[in-house]
Subunit: 355 residues, 2 copies
């Protein structure tokens, strides 16, 4: 393992997780929840996953101000000055810029992994092997590396990365130049992608040195770069918070994919297969969890099912649940709110929660 003192982990933990209502709420979104009932939240599992690769002192969390207490509570080992608070939502590019300049102030040689806080990885060992390999690559180059997940189904909900498989990197035969980024496809296109080796899901996991990302921002997003260049003297000081609150909202609302990845030259993809899921829907959660003989998955204190199949029962406040005669339903309860909904209608959950 490449446990360099310059390795840093950046976890983006500002999402609102509206598709998992009522388990996930604006007050406590998915990444702060023990979704699988294992005793660890997605955020905690995300940080745990980097054990041996990134020192706990080099973990950075970027989140909204309203989640600061949740992060501190769930990650007491992370220094509180490394929990960076966005005063407003500006998508991923300003978020990444903020943390990049902030880390640069502390460690100009830093080599970063940027990861979402609410995804699941089944094979932690392979995950660490891949991350260590990517970090070794970016430590000695100006490369921007994204992890590409081998598609297992014609998913229309993700962006895809098309790799140039003819040209593996000379220094790492597992890493390829990116040919093109592809927007979320229609079903026909997704079916084509899944049959060709060069298409990968964009996992949202990035690896780069701080030097590389700061430089890329300067070239492709000079508006954002100018803001953080100007803020650089106060970063890491007691004036940081006020200065960020004042200036961060001036950043454009733009994703890192649009802002940098689709524009930059030295972009690489490292195909990987470590049992990844973004756990974006109740249906995907159901497939990931242990099932009873009828395909039901259960998180809760005392849950009994009769003549039920393909159900996801997820309760936290209820002491006892009996379900009879449901096929393919979500039964989710938290903090006095109960949802019972056909799995196939789960895209309407946002509507239900808003009504």
């Amino acid at each position: 393992m490449n446990n360099s003192e310059h390795n840093h982990l950046v976890v983006m933990a500002g999402g609102v997780g509206s598709r998992f209502w009522p388990m996930s709420t604006p007050e406590c979104p998915k990444q702060f929840i023990d979704v699988l009932g294992t005793g660890r939240t997605f955020l905690q599992m995300t940080v745990d996953r980097f054990a041996g690769i990134v020192d706990r002192r080099n973990v950075w969390i970027v989140t909204s101000q309203q989640y600061a207490d949740l992060v501190k509570e769930q990650l007491p080992d992370v220094p509180s000055e490394q929990i960076l608070l966005e005063p407003c939502r500006r998508n991923t590019a300003p978020c990444i810029a903020y943390v990049a300049w902030r880390i640069k102030k502390q460690d100009a040689q830093a080599n970063l992994v940027v990861a979402p806080s609410d995804h699941l990885v089944m094979n932690g060992e392979e995950f660490r092997r891949v991350i260590a390999s990517a970090l070794a690559f970016t430590a000695e180059s100006d490369a921007i590396v994204t992890l590409g997940m081998r598609p297992t189904r014609p998913e229309t909900g993700y962006g895809y990365i098309q790799a140039d498989m003819s040209a593996p990197s000379l220094r790492n035969s597992e890493i390829f130049r990116v040919d093109r980024f592809r927007e979320k496809p229609d079903l026909a296109t997704a079916k084509k992608y899944v049959q060709h080796e060069e298409y990968y899901w964009n996992s949202g996991i990035f690896v780069w040195s701080v030097k590389t990302i700061v430089n890329a921002m300067r070239i492709y997003q000079s508006d954002i770069a100018d803001i953080f260049e100007a803020l650089f003297p106060v970063l890491g000081t007691e004036r940081e918070r006020d200065a960020i609150d004042e200036n961060f909202p001036r950043c454009p609302n733009i994703s890192i994919d649009y802002a940098v990845m689709e524009k930059a030259e030295e972009i690489f993809v490292m195909p990987a297969d470590f049992g990844w899921s973004d756990v974006g829907t109740w249906g995907s959660l159901l497939t990931l969890m242990p099932h009873d003989g009828d395909g039901n998955a259960v998180v809760g204190q005392e849950v009994k099912l009769y003549e039920s199949s393909g159900c996801m029962v997820h309760t936290s406040g209820l002491r006892r649940v009996v379900v009879q005669g449901l096929d393919g339903y979500i039964v989710a309860e938290k903090n006095g709110t109960l949802l019972i909904c056909r799995m196939e209608e789960e895209q309407r959950i946002k509507e239900f929660s808003a009504d």
Copy 2:
């Protein structure tokens, strides 16, 4: 109205209501619950129903010791010495004997209505007219009167009373001699009963003078009568409770129907139609409650239904419920216990609650 000072109401409130779990539990059965969401429990509605006929000072409740506090809380106007506590369950005959001898001690001229605590009456005005008429009848005779409910469906869950319609009482043309009591019939028999005018549901509402019932007990249940004759000197004294605790368990376990009604001579039935239901099942509750356009009935704080029909949603602890895509289900929650169950499987609720 016949608001005689000798009119007394006896409410039998010792049932356990196991078919309405988890709304009804052994700790707080159906009669103590605001089942309809109107702000009054079944027990309170039962007593309210006699306003103008029985003075509040003449209300007697017989219940189990464990429900004494619930009764006092829900009926603060009832003198606490008129809440009689059975130390164990011995069915209705010993219960009625106890309260009969107890009332006799206080008012030898008493004229009683005995009523279950967990039934529903829709037409209170007609109910009071019928009760007043029956009380006037028993005030001046040794008659035992039962109220017979005109069947509206071939119900196999009730006992039936066959009236001798050829011979109305000379003093009250609405009251007939009972020809026979009939056990719970099979469906074919029930279908026959519902087509003939002389068959009525046994509502469990009885009217008689204290003299009459005490006498009937002496004749037909001398074991029980002997026990309460012996206890008579201590009834209404501070020694009552201990003496009852010691002697009540010696009573045989027998219903008033078997013990007296099916044996006695002067038994009458008063057919009545005041929108009665014993509310014995979730299904019957659903039919009794106001519905939305899709036949759903709801008790709860904030309940929304989408693409659902024929559902009974009854929650008390949950603050918010969203139900999508359920047809013909019970969704019931209380004190952290949730049941979701097909209405047609509700006879299994006792099994679910025990497992």
